[in-house]
């Protein structure tokens, strides 16, 4: 597991900037202004390139040896082992706290735009419990961040909290992405409740060439869904929101977290989706992330994934036969019947993913998404064991 924030040494910084780490390639490409970049002096080739390059108006320098930085120019030194920051990454420096945080990592499979800590739901298994804070400042910071992200970044996840609480500002962020990062797929994780009246959804029509919405649906009737998200009326709002998004020609993924009460009616939920929401592009069935509120509700939520297998197989087959794409997230292959492996994705973000000791002996470890770094024994299936051979291996 990788920390995303660390103490650093830094000097001469007037403000709290967002900075992109530059190497020789970034210098040569000239895509980003030097004023917003941090020249990486840790690289010997950069140092060998001569002092002329250092005279450019870089925002500052990244170095292990502060003496390498030109005199009276700002610099940052990252202590050994504390933090991994590489060329192309974007960091946020908070000089007064001597802290630096990673905001974009080149090559990561899960870069996020974090919109707000606030949320209008209060899900039993929330992995990122919301806080009622005034964090409207994030909007302009995100717009700045977007400008520093690699133009060829394949995808970004927009998340929170609940991004739609930003209202028009969310549209502003997406419009900025459309303008600066037209090639980058955007996936917004929202509960969809704010779309219920249709006006907000319309704002996104035709806005971005590859924008998808990931919306959770936890039941085929309101009392189940409302219970999971701990909000009366949420099911009705989300469902109406889904129709509003469809009317605004938005692409939709449904996300279902496999907690026990949801699994109990999973086949009915699959049926409800097909009958009522056949326009969704993708359904993600996701193992629970054992962090945040989930830990407090172990007894209500936990179900060994191995015990879900028959229901999962039914739901997956039902949907995929009906041309609705399905994926399984956060479930290790050894707890799934082999017939479902084709639907399994390595979904756990690289920085919070791990394997267990048992995995060392497993022949399909390379295809398996493994476990959340914070998995404990009681959140681990009894059926976890190394896969010794597969039926495919025979061929």
């Amino acid at each position: 597991m990788q920390p995303l924030e660390a103490k650093v040494h830094c000097e001469q910084w007037p403000a709290s900037p967002l900075l992109k780490v530059a190497g020789l390639a970034e210098f040569a490409a000239g895509t980003f202004p030097p004023e917003r970049m941090l020249l990486d002096l840790r690289d010997a080739r950069v140092r060998a390139a001569g002092s002329a390059i250092c005279r450019l108006p870089w925002a500052g320098f990244l170095t292990d040896v502060p003496e390498h930085a030109p005199p009276s120019r700002p610099w940052i030194a990252v202590p050994q082992g504390a933090f991994k920051v590489g060329v192309g990454d974007v960091v946020e420096l908070r000089p007064h706290a001597s802290k630096m945080a990673l905001r974009y990592r080149r090559g990561s499979n899960n870069n996020i735009l974090f919109t707000t800590e606030r949320c209008n739901s209060y899900c039993l298994m929330c992995s990122q419990p919301p806080r009622e804070v005034n964090d409207g400042w994030r909007v302009s910071q995100l717009c700045d961040l977007i400008e520093l992200i690699d133009k060829d970044a394949p995808s970004l996840t927009v998340t929170g909290g609940e991004p739609t609480l930003l209202g028009k500002d969310l549209r502003r962020i997406m419009a900025r992405c459309a303008e600066v990062l037209p090639q980058t797929r955007l996936h917004v994780l929202s509960n969809g409740r704010a779309f219920e009246d249709g006006a907000l959804a319309q704002m996104f029509e035709g806005l971005h060439p590859s924008l998808t919405w990931g919306i959770p649906l936890y039941g085929d009737h309101y009392s189940l869904h409302d219970y999971i998200v701990q909000s009366a009326g949420a099911f009705s709002q989300t469902v109406r929101g889904l129709y509003a998004l469809e009317a605004a020609k938005q692409r939709i993924e449904l996300r279902v977290v496999l907690v026990e009460p949801v699994v109990e009616r999973l086949t009915e939920l699959a049926r409800f989706i097909y009958r009522n929401l056949p326009f969704v592009e993708h359904v993600a069935l996701m193992g629970t992330e054992p962090i945040g509120f989930a830990r407090a509700h172990y007894d209500d939520l936990w179900m060994d994934p191995a015990d879900m297998a028959p229901v999962l197989a039914k739901a997956v087959n039902f949907l995929s036969k009906r041309s609705i794409r399905v994926s399984l997230y956060n479930l290790p292959l050894c707890v799934l019947p082999e017939s479902l492996w084709a639907y399994s994705r390595k979904s756990i973000s690289d920085w919070k993913q791990q394997y267990l000791p048992a995995c060392e002996q497993c022949v399909v470890k390379g295809r398996c998404g493994g476990f959340f770094a914070w998995t404990t024994d009681k959140w681990t299936s009894q059926s976890v064991e190394p896969v010794r051979g597969t039926s495919c291996a025979k061929h």
């Binding site: 009737h221 009392s223 701990q230 009705s236 109406r240 056949p278 036969k321």
Partner: protein, 496 residues
């Protein structure tokens, strides 16, 4: 922490019934089919339905959730939503959105066959007075583009349209020319015996993306008995046409359908095996219609719907067997009924809609410039009854839509509002056929207890539901496979 328990989200106690209809299962009187207004459904114990209707369901029991999520009941209105029900309804009735998509051009009444059951009133090969004129064709093309549909299926029909192929070519060219600015999606279909199909005709069809729809009643002896020609070579000529059509236009571009006579009913397996032998993956088993020559010869060729349903059961068994053996072969009407039961989608078939597809889904431009809402209306007119004529090709489509014929159709064209249909559990999957009822019963509203249309529909729905519910999982998969396939290739049926 401020988390609430499950029961806290039930809301106000109690529930209301949404519009629902039910039918006791003929094969199990202890259970009922319950359908919602948009055609979602479940099968329940009869006493459970009674409990539901009398307000005795408990919010904690699975049946409560099952009925709620199928929009048969509604719990706390402040917390639930009917948006999915409305969306389902819109989806089901999607065929209404764009107006008629199927446009039938009758280029000639001439035909070289003398079929006893002919639904059209054919004319002898030499009687060119029964050909569509050039000016009628031009008017008809003008009207075609007056309709709003983004997809237009143009079906050339007769008589035998190949006998008037010049007109087919002219119409095709006129339509394509006009479409350069209109930019509709066009489909051309020609309904023909395929006899004497020439290479020139085929290459024209290939260049313009035609599909062929032909009639093949079964094995050679049956086909030739049903479709007499002096030379007794109807089967051979049709099969020859099918093969040549496939070579030039591709296998998928050629489809065939049967017309079932009393003789056909004796040999369901042979008919299906014939289609299998000829490499078809689709068959249409069509009972006789009460029109044209078919009505006059009814006593000789006719049979009861009961006979047809018995035939159908055997045919379905044979079809399932063929599929179990690894050869995909579906029956088109079955596929459509199953897709209505098992999917939420609309369909392209014009004869099973509510509001009716006559005039709303299809328009027929007859050889003489008269316009009809369906083939059946044209056949009635040929028999001297113009009750359902819409007008002439040189009139506006608004005139047609407000004609007395169309009013008559619309007055009896909504199944949900027809006596008996209004209470039928199958009505969300069924259609209104005012012209058929008029032809058979002399009244466009009709009398369901004695209606062949109704008897056929009920029989087929019962059979398919029972098969789907009680069949082996393999048979169920086959039936589902047909239904799901139907939703990916909408439209093929409308021309059948």
């Amino acid at each position: 922490m401020k988390f609430a328990a499950r029961h806290a989200f039930v809301g106000n106690p109690g529930y209301r019934l949404l519009p629902l209809r039910f039918r006791r299962l003929p094969w199990d009187q202890g259970r009922v089919l319950v359908t919602s207004m948009s055609g979602d459904w479940l099968i329940a114990q009869r006493n459970d339905l009674e409990r539901a209707v009398t307000g005795q369901l408990d919010p904690g029991e699975p049946l409560f959730a099952d009925m709620e999520s199928r929009f048969l009941i509604s719990a706390d209105p402040d917390r639930s939503t009917l948006a999915p029900l409305l969306s389902q309804y819109r989806t089901r009735k999607d065929y209404l959105a764009e107006g008629p998509r199927l446009h039938i051009f009758v280029v000639s009444l001439r035909c070289h066959h003398t079929c006893a059951y002919c639904q059209v009133s054919r004319r002898a090969v030499g009687q060119t007075a029964f050909d569509m004129t050039e000016s009628t064709a031009q008017h008809a093309v003008g009207r075609l583009f007056d309709w709003p549909a983004k997809t237009l299926t143009i079906e050339f029909q007769g008589g035998e349209p190949l006998l008037q192929f010049d007109r087919v070519q002219q119409l095709t060219k006129l339509i394509e020319q006009r479409n350069r600015t209109e930019k509709r999606a066009l489909r051309f279909v020609i309904a023909s015996t395929l006899h004497d199909l020439t290479d020139e005709q085929l290459s024209f069809m290939r260049d313009h993306g035609f599909e062929l729809s032909t009639s093949l009643d079964g094995p050679e002896w049956l086909h030739n008995l049903n479709r007499p020609r002096p030379e007794r070579d109807s089967y051979r000529k049709t099969v020859d046409g099918i093969e040549r059509g496939r070579r030039v236009l591709g296998d998928d571009a050629v489809s065939a359908l049967t017309t079932l006579t009393r003789r056909s009913l004796q040999v369901p397996k042979e008919i299906i095996d014939e289609y299998r032998k000829l490499g078809f993956h689709s068959i249409s088993l069509r009972p006789l219609s009460p029109y044209g020559f078919a009505r006059k010869t009814g006593a000789r060729h006719g049979y009861t719907i009961g006979d047809f349903l018995k035939f159908y059961e055997v045919a379905l068994d044979r079809l399932l067997q063929v599929n179990r053996n690894g050869y995909f072969l579906e029956e088109t009407y079955t596929r459509m009924l199953l897709s209505l039961l098992l999917t939420p989608f609309s369909h392209g078939y014009v004869d099973l809609r509510s509001p009716t597809g006559a005039g709303l889904g299809a328009v027929v431009y007859d050889y003489d410039g008269r316009v009809y809402p369906s083939d059946e209306a044209r056949m009635l007119a040929a028999m001297g009854d113009h009750s359902f004529a819409l007008g002439q090709v040189d009139e506006s489509i608004e005139t047609w839509m407000s004609s007395p014929g169309m009013q008559r159709i619309l007055g009896a064209g909504v199944a949900e509002a027809l006596p008996t249909c209004a209470d039928c559990a199958y009505v969300p999957f069924c259609g209104a056929d005012p012209i058929d009822h008029y032809a058979r019963q002399g009244d466009s509203i009709g009398h369901r207890p004695t209606s062949d249309f109704c008897r056929k529909q009920m029989g087929l729905f019962d059979t398919l539901l029972r098969r789907w519910e009680q069949g082996s999982s393999e048979d169920r998969d086959i039936l589902e496979g047909w239904a799901l396939r139907a939703t990916c290739r909408e439209g093929v049926l409308e021309a059948a």
